[in-house]
């Protein structure tokens, strides 16, 4: 098995008639994902290359049995789209949209949690399980290969870089999850790592973090306590100037944490093999696997 998405996934796209929604829905279908429909209010009854379009998520679920959604709705309306999906009983909500107001994110997270749904993102590349030929997101499918490495990352293109290095070394992936870099996200590093630990197909985990917040420190503590599989880590941004994106009161709440050296130290203390260079993501994983064998 993989995590989150597989051959059982029945996907709809919210915002399917927009330029990106359409393009990526078709790319997901080409990859092998079971796309059962799409939603754009006011466009119900139309189709996109044979994919039926509905006015509401409830209708789409009723007609197609959809259990997952991929959201391309523009930022001003995205929180509403997420809440609509959660309310309609969708189990997995992958929100690609970037630029959603932080308070909207806080509100929609609460609705998603109350509904018992799982959200990935927002502002993320999505999820892909190459062995199940299931891609729910905007990542280029061809760089992936079926295999046993679980990848979790806050970043988009840096994840592609990591995946490509793994694939080049013959290390395929069970599932790759882009959790997004926004202040409030549906699925954290810890959530994904926990799922990978329980997943039989996943043999090792690649954790890609970046500066800011304490998500990597928290994930490291979790790994130390709960994870028996090899974990390789990387933190982007050791050369970034401090304080450029964080408001200073926010830094206080985080207890002044968030620098790359601190995160790498926390990872090492948890037994995570840390890649020093972004060019060594794949090779550090290969070494970690060899050391285990």
């Amino acid at each position: 098995m993989s995590i989150l998405v597989n051959s059982e996934t029945r996907l709809i796209t919210q915002g399917i008639t927009g330029e990106y929604g359409r393009m990526h829905t078709l790319a997901c279908r080409d990859y092998g994902t079971n796309i059962v429909g799409g939603v754009t209010p006011g466009r119900g009854g139309e189709d996109v290359e044979g994919i039926p379009v509905y006015d509401t998520v409830s209708n789409a679920v009723k007609e197609t049995g959809a259990n997952a959604t991929m959201i391309f709705v523009p930022a001003p309306f995205a929180a509403d789209a997420v809440e609509e999906a959660a309310e309609a009983g969708i189990e997995l909500i992958v929100c690609i949209t970037e630029g959603i107001p932080a308070l909207d994110e806080a509100r929609m997270k609460r609705v998603v949690t109350a509904a018992g749904a799982r959200m990935i993102g927002p502002n993320c590349p999505g999820v892909i399980s190459p062995g199940d030929k299931c891609k729910v997101g905007i990542m280029p499918g061809f760089i992936h290969a079926p295999g046993n490495i679980g990848v979790v990352s806050r970043s988009g293109t840096l994840t592609y870089e990591a995946v490509w290095q793994l694939t080049e070394l013959g290390l395929g992936q069970s599932t790759c999850v882009g959790i997004g870099g926004d202040p409030v996200i549906g699925t954290t590093h810890i959530d994904a790592i926990s799922m990978f630990q329980q997943d039989h197909q996943t043999e090792a985990i690649l954790l890609i973090g970046e500066i800011g917040g304490t998500a990597e420190e928290d994930a490291s503590a979790f790994v130390k306590e709960h994870v028996t599989k090899p974990v390789v880590g990387f933190v982007a941004g050791r050369t970034a100037p401090p304080g450029k994106r964080m408001g200073h009161a926010g830094a206080i709440i985080a207890g002044g944490k968030g620098t790359a050296p601190e995160k790498m130290k926390a990872m090492r203390a948890a037994g995570i093999a840390v890649a020093e260079s972004p060019a060594e993501l794949g090779s550090t994983m290969a070494e970690a696997l060899a050391a285990r064998a």
Binding site: Y20, H24, A75, P76, E98, G99, I100, P101, A102, L103, D104, E105, A106, R107, R110, P125, I138, M139, P140, I143, S153, R154, S155, G156, T157, L158, T159, Y160, E161, W164, G181, P183, V184, I208, E210, I211, G213, T214, A215, D218, F234, A236, G237, R238, T239, A240, P241, K244, G247, H248, A249, G250, I252, I253, A254, G255, G256, S277, P278, A279
Partner: protein
């Protein structure tokens, strides 16, 4: 987007928060007239710049006459004010706020910001107002009280009371103090702020609670629904290059090195800076062209990078997902020709349409150094600029 103190106080007043009477002035004459208009025998002249630490830098002064107000305003206006936060260059003061003097009894600190771990806004307060919160956090973290703010309904009354009593606010002022905390939370939510800070929030000897200072940062992602707030942006306060980059849909931060970087995606852009440093070079900038840059955007990005006189070479690192490598390659070729670029240029393209992209670079007849991987690219550009 940061607001000036006078703008933040305008927003505070909008939700009924008590702020001192004040007048914004752009000339010494206006400051003199403002003193008279306020009518007291004491006023404060405050430089309006975004950077904090104004008081210690001499940007906030008590004055006792209209003539003194004019004198202080004239010394501040048009000159750079250098504080701990904007050193070494400082910021030119273009406006001063002349405010009534108040009989202060005690100063408190209050701020609201989004707590990433709790995933809701949190209100923080301490009885050590006036001092920098970083110092309090370091020396006496228990002195900072925290309560969560509900993202829909605001600060619950019992939470406002818990903070108020926790800070030891005198009983006769407890009600207005708690009401002020609730109103600050309301301002935070209704304006989609990412930070509201009042340092100090004061009680006066005549029994009032007043926001003596005001800082506010608005969530840029929410400006689409706050057209009135968007107009408060002061571009004089921002790095002009960063402003132009933002308008072109690029995210740019200037750094001290000599290797210009053009990358897609923030994580990969940071990793590219890291690997340049690991190979002994120094990045000149962070530049994320975003997920779907056009040929024109790539040209603008090149122009922005080259405006920095320290740049001795450029590294382009693109992993195409949404972005197509052939589009980037065409942009690189067009920009190189249009700008007559002579500095070394290393290009690493991977992902969607990478073969087409590489062909465009090879066929251009330009002196572009291709690279196969991030490490290869970093090594080549560092060698080329040294």
């Amino acid at each position: 987007m940061k607001l000036h103190e006078f703008q933040a106080k305008g927003r505070f007043a909008h939700v009924g928060l008590p702020v001192p009477k004040g007048i914004v002035c752009e000339t010494a004459e206006a400051a003199s007239a403002a003193f008279d208009e306020l009518g007291g025998d004491l006023a404060v002249v405050k430089a309006q710049i975004h950077a904090g630490g104004r008081g210690k830098a001499g940007g906030v002064k008590l004055v006792k006459s209209a003539a003194e107000a004019a004198e202080v305003a004239s010394a501040l206006l048009g000159n750079p004010l250098v504080t701990k936060q904007n050193a070494p260059d400082g910021t030119i003061v273009r406006k001063v706020l002349v405010e009534e003097g108040l009989p202060i009894e005690k100063e408190y600190y209050v701020a609201i910001t989004l707590d990433r771990q709790k995933e809701v806004p949190v209100l923080m307060a301490s009885a050590e107002g006036g001092t920098e919160i970083e110092e309090v956090a370091e020396e006496n973290p228990d002195a900072i009280l925290k309560e969560v703010v509900d993202p829909v309904s605001g600060l619950a009354d019992f939470r406002a009371r818990r903070i108020t009593y926790g800070l030891g606010v005198p009983k006769k002022l407890a009600r207005p103090f708690a009401a002020t905390l609730s109103a600050l939370a309301k301002a935070f939510l209704s304006d989609d702020a990412s930070l509201v800070e009042v340092n100090p929030l004061v009680t006066t000897t005549d029994g009032r609670v007043i926001c003596l200072d005001g800082k506010m940062t608005i969530d840029d992602n929410a400006l689409f629904r706050h057209k009135d707030l968007a107009e408060l942006r002061d571009e004089d306060e921002e790095d002009p290059t960063e402003v132009r980059a933002r308008k072109a849909g690029l995210s740019y931060v200037n750094l001290d090195g000599n290797v210009g970087c053009l990358v897609n995606g923030a994580g990969l852009a940071m990793a590219t800076m890291d690997i340049i440093k690991l190979h002994g070079g120094e990045p000149a900038n962070f530049l994320d062209v975003g997920g779907s840059a056009s040929t024109e955007q790539v040209t603008t990005a090149f122009k922005i990078i080259l405006e920095d006189p320290a740049v001795k070479g450029i590294l382009v690192n693109i992993f195409g997902g949404i972005m197509r490598c052939d589009v980037v390659a065409q942009g690189v070729v067009d920009a190189t020709k249009a700008l007559g670029l002579e500095d070394p240029l290393v290009v690493r393209l991977h992902g969607t349409n990478m073969e087409e992209g590489r062909k465009i670079l090879e066929g251009s007849g330009l002196k572009i150094i291709p690279a196969d991987s991030m490490a290869d690219a970093a090594q080549k550009i560092v060698e080329a600029v040294s």
